[in-house]
């Protein structure tokens, strides 16, 4: 188990390095740069700018310098927000995204998993159809449509009522400003969790050992919670690994719609402004998170299925 874990950590490092390398050269090798604005910049200023950001160094040197500074936790200066380093921007944005993502994750699990179980246990009844249809709706309606609709309803139509919620903005993380974005962020994950939990729970309830548990005369809730649920959670955990990484690194859509200063929005603006260092910083951060979460998933498998502990 632990050697397996160590092996996975060791594989994670070159993966991250490969991602960094591909990203780096992809961005440096393309025509156009961060200083191609609407108004052309005078040539001598451009030379200065390029010198300041070491863009006049040979490519391999830029690459090596970048890797070295990364090892020191330095993501380099932002090309667009010229007074900030990328590290500062991430340090500002990441906590915001982290908080919202975590809240959405908890919301999604707390609502999605129980609903999925309820639907599975009522398979092919009206209750199942209603829950499943709602889940499907949550999956097919794009996040940005949902966001705009929520703003329209709670921010505009209900402006003068007591359920009025701010239509956007962050206001230093006031509770009212968090409700809509967190909900909007959680919605598709709730929907996916319902579907996955439902499917795996139906499968688990058909298992021979669940029949054995019923034949023992155990009450239904014991059969479900003690015998069926654990194996039903395996696909749920598989899904939650990468999902957690995406939630925590901030949703580009939700943060843009609700004007939240998280790293998702930084990424979008960075991408649109060709702020290479910022884009790379966020990408590396989220890649590292995805790798870490997949590792966490592997560890959780061991808790859910004792077989895994020994076979690896």
């Amino acid at each position: 188990m632990w050697s397996y874990f160590a092996r996975r950590v060791v594989i994670g490092v070159p993966t991250l390095w490969a991602i960094i390398t591909v990203c780096f050269f992809l961005m440096r090798l393309t025509p156009g740069g961060p200083f191609d604005g609407e108004a052309p910049i005078p040539a001598e200023i451009l030379v200065n700018l390029r010198a300041r950001y070491h863009l006049d160094d040979p490519l391999w040197k830029q690459y090596v310098d970048y890797l070295i500074s990364l090892l020191h936790g330095d993501f380099g200066p932002s090309f667009k927000y010229r007074d900030f380093t990328v590290t500062t921007l991430i340090a500002q944005g990441f906590p915001v995204s982290l908080q919202n993502g975590f809240a959405a994750l908890v919301l999604a699990i707390v609502i999605g998993v129980p609903l999925g179980i309820v639907a599975a246990l009522a398979q092919n009844t009206r209750r199942d159809y209603i829950v499943s249809a709602a889940a499907m709706t949550g999956i097919v309606i794009p996040n940005f449509v949902m966001g705009h609709v929520l703003i329209l309803v709670f921010g505009v139509w209900l402006k003068d009522s007591f359920v009025h919620l701010p239509a956007g903005g962050w206001d230093d993380g006031a509770f009212a400003n968090r409700i809509l974005p967190v909900f909007c962020l959680a919605l598709p994950y709730i929907a996916y969790l319902v579907r996955i939990t439902r499917g795996s729970m139906i499968e688990a309830m058909r298992a021979n050992y669940v029949r054995t548990a019923r034949a023992k005369g155990l009450p239904f809730h014991t059969v479900v919670l003690r015998h069926a649920l654990k194996s039903a959670l395996v696909p749920v955990v598989t899904f939650l690994g990468p999902a957690t990484a995406f939630l925590l690194t901030g949703s580009m859509v939700v943060e843009t719609i609700f004007q939240i200063p998280g790293i998702g929005r930084y990424f979008v603006q960075g991408a649109l402004n060709r702020d290479y260092t910022l884009v790379m910083g966020v990408t590396i951060l989220s890649a590292a998170l995805v790798i870490a979460m997949n590792l966490a998933v592997d560890l959780l498998y061991g808790l859910l299925d004792p077989k895994v502990r020994y076979e690896r």
């Binding site: 993966t15 961005m27 940005f144 058909r206 990468p242 859509v253 991408a271 995805v290 997949n294």
Partner: protein, 302 residues
Amino acid sequence: MSANLASPHGAALDAAATTEGRSLWQDAWRRLMANHAAVTGLVILVLIALVSVVGPYLLPWTYDEIDWRHVEALPPDMATRHYFGTDSLGRDLLARTLFGGRISLMVGILATTVALFIGVTVGAIAGFVGGRTDQYLMRFVDLMYSVPLTFFVIILMVVFGRNFILMFLAIGAVEWLTMARIVRGQTLTLRNKEFIEAARASGGSTTWIIIRHIVPNVLGVVMVYVTLTIPQVILLESFLSFLGLGIQEPMTSWGMLINDGAAELEVSPRTLIIPAAFMTVTLFCFNFLGDGLRDALDPKDR
């Protein structure tokens, strides 16, 4: 069937398997046809595809034509023959919605085809050849799984500019991973079946066996996955459009129309609701069809 009956779950009682002379595909088709949600989904999809392809030729306005009499979002008006009204630039919303559907469906289908091609090739080779080849290919797939792929699509779109061909290539290139895993799994179980051994014993080359025997037999699973990937791609395209990285004006897609409509939400919700409805219904239908196909091809799952 007899085996099923002895199994603990009478649910699996399946007369179909005993009735001789019906092929697997006929059987699956019959089961699919018995699934109302899937059939409805299929019919509506065909209708939407049809109006998206043919519709724009039959309308009085084209998607990029500006009605200079009123350059603003207008409600439906039979007299000016804007049956769904116009957008904020005075362009016919119906024509744009249909044209946008054409682009969205096209991106969905083309990107999925790219994913299908790469995924089936990699999966079938990994599963059939096995050994070190399998190890390396699957290691690579694992590695790709830990890459934040949406980020990559965005970076690609930014770096190479907004290009239609690049868009479906990029999306296809990130969507093939799951396909490869599924196909590999199926191939692994097929590899030891008698008919494959027979083909090998009679001297068929690896390529020949993969094309002739493996690919047709994984088709069912792949079809299910294709129907479920297309809507994902359509969603991803709409997401790119939302970020302003999608199709270029005056061309349009459902995602772009929705995004334009969202900006006008308070003034004329219609400009959001109409394309959003088209897209949502389409995605619903693909999902129903995909679920139906899965049930039809894998009866034990009912």
